[in-house]
Amino acid sequence: MIKKTVKNVQEALDGVKDGMTMMLGGFGLSGIPENSISELVKLNLKDLTCISNNAGVDDFGLGLLLHKKQIKKMISSYVGENAEFERQMLSGELDVELTPQGTLAAKCQAAQQGFPAVYTPAGFGTEVAEGKETREFDGKMYVLEHAYKADFAFVKAWKGDEAGNLIFKGTARNFNPLMCGAATITVAEVEKLVKPGELDPNQIHIPGIFVQRIFEGKNYEKRIEQRTVRQK
């Protein structure tokens, strides 16, 4: 078994630098790598390019990095929950590349799995396809979208073992598995870190080969963005 455990978030982030490209898992605030984000804020890295489906909210998630103007460029599919984001984007301080959600998923997974690019119908005929190669297959038009490249990927899982195997929970899975192995170094933070053999090999969502560093995170807030309930 190849051991991937690191002591803490500081060791997990060893080597991060200004100007790097980072992938960050999560959908909305669900499944975001809270510990890694906090550490990125603390390290006060600058000029980051962040690939993440959303940009957090004003005071949580990637919003914390935006607030400190650590992000130079954001690649996302939806950023509607973040007023500071909109302000920085409309004022031109922040470079933004909006990408269809399925395309974002496909570009991460392509990087993970060694596909150089994918053909997707999403965005054909829209400004997303401008300047991109398009092509017809069986009478339908597709856009060629290249795999992402990143220096670090930060993901959050529910359980993990020392071999780096990951299991996600519910819809907190989302982009997290797709970003594993899509960057030079993948850092996984987990709610519960267990010994090898404690996870059923049949239930592992992401094999440890895609993860370079793993640690058990602390103080998860797991904030709910839209608390919707019904009455009993």
Binding site: T126, W158, T171, N174
Partner: protein
């Protein structure tokens, strides 16, 4: 009398057939789930990674790890499954989802749709909408017939940046049910008490009216 949002959702629910997998967008589309007949079997997909989405949780049972694409806390029904975003859009791109219902800022008579950006003013992003409209074969738009300024949202040509081209099959508004055809917006039904003339006035694009247009039956 023009419908309210629930009325639009109620009418759209009639389009949902037994055995359908359905993706519901944010806003009015989310309400459709409340009106689907309970004698048919339907599963709701949310593109952030669940099939078999259930109602909101009971107070106190919310789970931050269980949300829908609108970031609302939800529940999972028996037979549900969770999956990653690639698998989710694999379902969508692979045409396994039978019906997509979403909102729009504009729809053109050729089926183009715009719903993600107002240049210089509002840029929230397309989320999964571009994937959905590029892949689905059965797309119903739920929206108001006109915008807040009273201008028609059913246009000859979209003025806003497009989300997808020639993809919308049907539109349900507070005034009418309209099918998108090769020749333009074909009026299928009127909201109760709404006249063809009312609809014509609110529709900038070509409105095709053939024969008597029945009122919606919302019972």
């Amino acid at each position: 009398m023009a419908l309210d949002k629930n009325g639009i959702a109620q009418r759209i629910a009639q389009e949902v057939q037994d055995g359908y997998y359905v993706n519901l967008g944010i806003g009015i589309p989310t309400l459709v789930a409340n009106f689907v007949r309970d004698d048919i079997n339907v599963e709701f997909q949310s593109e952030n990674g669940i099939l078999g989405m259930g109602p909101f949780p009971f107070d106190g049972e919310e789970d931050a790890d269980l949300i829908n694409a609108g970031k609302q806390t939800i529940t999972a029904l028996p037979g549900a499954s969770f999956f990653d975003s690639a698998m989710s859009f694999g379902m969508i791109r692979g045409k396994h989802v039978d019906l997509t219902i979403l909102g729009a800022m504009e729809v053109a008579e050729n089926g183009d749709i715009a719903n993600w950006k107002i240049p210089g003013k509002m840029v929230k992003g397309m989320g999964g909408a571009m994937d959905l409209v590029a892949s689905a074969e059965n797309i119903i738009v739920a929206m108001m017939h006109t915008n807040r300024a009273g201008e028609s949202k059913l246009l000859k040509r979209c003025s806003l940046p497009l989300t997808g081209v020639g993809c919308v099959t049907k539109i349900v508004t507070e005034l009418a049910v309209i099918e998108v055809t090769d020749k333009g917006f074909k009026l299928l039904e009127r909201a109760p008490g709404v006249s063809v003339e009312d609809i014509r006035k609110a529709t900038e694009g070509t409105l095709i009216v053939e024969g008597d247009i029945p009122e919606m039956n919302l019972n």
